[in-house]
Symmetry: C2
Subunit: 158 residues, 2 copies
Amino acid sequence: MTKAETVTAATTARADFIEKIGVIAQSEGLPRIAGRVMAMLLYDGERVSFGQLADALQVSRGSVSSSVRMLESQQLIKRVAKPGDRQDYFQVVDHAFANMVEAAATRVRRAATDIEESLREIPASETGPRARVADYAAYYRAMGEGLDTTAEALRKSR
Amino acid sequence: MTKAETVTAATTARADFIEKIGVIAQSEGLPRIAGRVMAMLLYDGERVSFGQLADALQVSRGSVSSSVRMLESQQLIKRVAKPGDRQDYFQVVDHAFANMVEAAATRVRRAATDIEESLREIPASETGPRARVADYAAYYRAMGEGLDTTAEALRKSR
DNA sequence: TAGTGTGTTCAGTCAAAATTGAACACGTTG
DNA sequence: CAACGTGTTCAATTTTGACTGAACACACTA
């Protein structure tokens, strides 16, 4: 490959990656744009400005705003300053992946709590339903613990 | 509580449970009706007919059809016969929860494969992006393994 | 102070997904 | 065979949520 070809290959690989993560995010129930923002920050590594995000991803500033806020709230990215530029910049936080798993664990635990609440409403005489609903809650608890274990493992590596 | 009160409490507890699981299913990106079907089968334990599902959940037969087909395809419920009744009956399969986790593991592994495919497209000269994308793929692999461990644990218990 | 750059908000638009209900295919029953 | 019961399919509808873009608030700058 000539140098020019390598540059082209890199650009299309980057674009493909960003789009692919957008689709994956969507399939996981997240907004597509949030996935693409995360992908761009991940790929580029260095801080990226608010304007660059809107520009490169071809989306409205409103969408960038809501996406970065969601990603910030999930502790996946952080807002940083660049001296001499009034724009906000963003970059992926350390242990972002561990935080993703942690967030999933939290959601699962919330579901477990909800189900346990239902369980308490079932009269003691209903032994069959009670046992089955309890199993269901236990399943969510097991999921939560498994996710926590994974999160911890990810946090330790690197 | 009188006996009548207990019966009432049981009925509303059942209805609440079914609705709650419907909402949880929805929040996990599954059709709400599928969640309610699963909940009803889970709560009742014994086989439930196609007609009872449509009737009790107040949904069209078309919805019941697509929901049970989805749940069957994910190995969460099975279609069984009841002698003397032409209707199809359904009940939760053994290890349904383990199968749920297994399905999640499969989805995650598919994502990992997708990302690894992207990784292969990035020129070797792009060491930074390559390292970060590889980390991302490794995260999905770790998730897959964690989920498999959880699935196995669930399968062993009971 | 007026003007410009920046991010947020929110009402409106749009697209995707869920849900319905009617047409249909197939088996059973009288 | 005709009538009915049963589950599936699919076009139409409804609902949900993402996304846009304009109005806005705020801070900086000339």
